[in-house]
Symmetry: C2
Subunit: 109 residues, 2 copies
DNA sequence: CTAATACATTAGCCAATACTAATTAATTGG
DNA sequence: CCAATTAATTAGTATTGGCTAATGTATTAG
């Protein structure tokens, strides 16, 4: 059975456009600081920190503190619940491949 | 480039647990009416209709009116934006397969 | 024809939440 | 040191959004 709480957290976290944009920028860069994320985000630094907290709680990002900087990086495994959900309820894919996860494991064991 | 509006709609729509549950039930059944969806949903019929409206606007479900009943069915293509997004920003899968969509097309052309 | 059923829609309420502005804490450069 | 930089946190505000209750509309049963 699928972990309802995990999917809930991930979906809910990625639903907000601003927060999703933050995540996308983190994914796009190896590591990135809060100031850099704030730059051109359209919101204040405080708002960015709040979004980062949500992303962290959802398991989508990880942090590394160094000096007065905090570097954020993407935590890809955090998207696993979404993949699971897709393979279960994504009819289109489900119909074609029965189980996406199984398929992927076969390809890359 | 990815259609930001489409992803936004799909993510936002699936973020709510009640609405997602409705979608999952629709996926699970070939066709299902509003009364059936209301039964055991924990919310009123009006709420269900509202959720169905959202799901329809997001392109996730389609309807077929017959007499005084309206049958809803899943529209799998509606999840395409989510798949696209995953293949772009789902680092885990991205790293392993470069492009999930390409992979799937190779398997089932 | 009338009552009941199925569904959509609306107004109004309440909780959740994204944002700002301000504060705090920690680190570093001059 | 001291001022500046980086980041987190908090209180307060405004908006969003999901819910109910009620109403409206169409269809079917008796």
């Amino acid at each position: 059975m699928i972990e309802a709480a995990a999917i809930n957290a991930v979906m809910r976290t990625l639903a907000d456009p601003t927060r999703r944009a933050v995540f996308e920028r983190i994914v796009g860069s190896d590591e990135i600081t809060v100031v850099e994320l704030t730059r051109g985000s359209g919101v204040t630094q405080g708002a960015i920190s709040q979004h980062l907290k949500s992303l962290k709680q959802a398991g989508l990002v990880a942090e590394r503190a160094q000096g007065r900087n905090v570097f954020y990086r993407a935590q890809p495994e955090g998207l696993a619940p979404l993949v699971d959900w897709m393979s279960h309820y994504g009819v289109f894919w489900h119909d074609r491949f029965a189980d996406l996860r199984t398929l992927l494991k076969e390809i890359d064991p």
